[in-house]
């Protein structure tokens, strides 16, 4: 039954994807992208990836849509030129799709317990998490402890992308018609009753969910990446309802910059603390007298660092787009 539901969702996803590419109106494309994201998130959930589903729903359907709409606002909604070399592109793409499909016949069947991914290294991680870290969520343990290096690298990529967006928007002057449009946007949706009431009602609960996801990430699905996205989404909703300026009064630009850098530095500092206490870089076992407790403290700190940076970067990017017309 679950498999059938998954197949139904995937088929819907393909139909949505075709509609996204075919539509000439970019506004429709972006809206359909949000639906596609939600379908993908539902699929992740069916595939036992609760953490990933949470992230995809918050980022793909939430923040990504807002950013794309912001970009449409600053550029144009209508796709003008015709498609270039449509037949040739289609032939190349179709041939590539067939090759990939041909390759899939060699893959282990869906859900096969004997597939290499299931027997090679996964049991080791699940076993070691129980022994060394003693937290229920294996995904969090692998993310923050076993593969802490990767996560540090990825956090730095997120940080760099945030800096990049700020840098891009620090030069040049916004066009005059953008400025006109945004003077209206600054009012937010305060004038409209329903968005105002619903928005104000939802923001505190979204924030609460964000903090729950942050601090419950070791026991259930959650962690810094998801929580950062959810908290950022709450503030973006606030900015959309109350206007961008009021949102900046809650968390000013300087605070956002401090969050971006501070989270990344905190992550690195936890790593260095491991060295100073006689261990290796990002070795949390030495952070407390009991190695298991040390691991848990380390993971908690790392997740907080990730949450702070992701919130800071996503909000900075949003404000960079929103402030372009001021």
């Amino acid at each position: 039954m679950t498999t059938l539901f998954g197949i139904f969702l995937l088929t819907l996803l393909l139909i949505t994807a075709v509609a996204i590419v075919r539509s000439r109106n970019l506004f429709i494309s972006v809206t359909l992208m949000a639906i596609a994201s939600l379908l993908i998130a539902a699929n992740f959930f069916l595939l036992d990836a609760a953490d990933v589903a949470l992230t995809e729903a918050a980022i793909g359907a939430g923040i990504s849509t807002v950013l794309f709409l912001g970009a449409l606002f600053l550029t144009s909604e209508q796709e003008r030129s015709a498609t270039s070399r449509r037949l040739l592109s289609f032939a190349v793409v179709a041939a590539a799709a067939l090759i990939v499909i041909y390759a899939t016949f060699d893959k282990p069947r869906f859900g096969d317990p004997q597939a290499p991914v299931q027997v090679h290294i996964s049991p080791w991680y699940i076993e070691q998490t129980r022994e060394l870290i003693e937290i229920p969520n294996v995904v969090t343990a692998v993310l923050a402890s076993f593969r802490g290096y990767d996560t540090l690298g990825e956090l730095i990529v997120v940080f760099t992308a945030g800096i990049g967006v700020l840098l891009l928007f620090s030069s040049g002057t916004p066009s005059a018609d953008n400025r006109l449009l945004f003077s209206r946007l600054n009012l937010g949706l305060r004038r409209y009753l329903i968005p105002r009431v619903v928005g104000r009602l939802l923001v505190p609960f979204i924030l609460l969910l964000g903090f729950y996801v942050q601090f419950h990430g070791e026991y259930g699905p959650g962690g810094g990446f998801q929580a950062g996205a959810i908290i950022a989404a709450a503030f973006i909703l606030y900015a959309l309802v109350e206007g961008e300026r009021r949102a900046l009064r809650v968390i000013p630009q300087r605070a956002l910059l401090a969050m971006m850098a501070g989270g990344t530095i905190l992550y690195g500092a936890v790593g260095v603390a491991g060295i100073l206490l006689g261990g290796r870089f990002l070795d949390y076992s030495v952070l407390a007298a009991d190695p298991v407790q040390g691991q848990q403290i380390g993971i908690l700190l790392i997740e907080i660092a990730v949450g702070i940076t992701v919130t800071g970067v996503l909000l900075s990017i949003f404000h960079a787009f929103a402030a372009r017309g001021r």
């Binding site: 596609a36 993908i40 970009a71 592109s89 793409v93 991680y125 995904v139 990017i317 372009r324």
Partner: protein
């Protein structure tokens, strides 16, 4: 039923190529970025599909079950989604700057403007 086990991978292949088609055939820069996002989503789907084991649950220990889907692909994709949105935002920022300098986000018009 045997072939049904590959359906997820076929969806991956088709979705990947739908995204790729938008990147190569469409001239609108935002449409290209949308295509890139679809391409990316297809890869995410491939990874998560591979980690699924039949009869398993999410890799959270202590629910009474002993069969878990592989946590490793989930970790990779979890961080990849956040990195993906950051890089997409950077791309959108570039598009907005291009529009401000050239007054267009269509590739052919931009190229025509660049020729002396």
């Amino acid at each position: 039923m045997e072939l049904l086990g590959l359906y997820h991978y076929w969806v991956f292949a088709v979705l990947l190529m739908i995204g790729f088609y938008a990147v190569v055939a469409k001239l609108n820069l935002i449409k290209k970025l949308i295509g890139l996002s679809l391409f990316q989503a297809a890869v995410f789907l491939l990874y998560i599909t591979m980690g699924k084991v039949s009869g398993g649950t999410a890799p959270i220990v202590g629910g009474g079950t002993e069969v878990f889907s592989s946590p490793l692909p989930q970790v990779l994709i979890l961080t990849a989604i956040v990195v993906g949105i950051s890089t997409t935002a950077l791309g959108l920022g570039l598009v907005v700057r291009i529009r401000e300098e050239y007054g267009s986000i269509e590739e052919d018009e931009i190229q025509a403007l660049d020729e002396p």
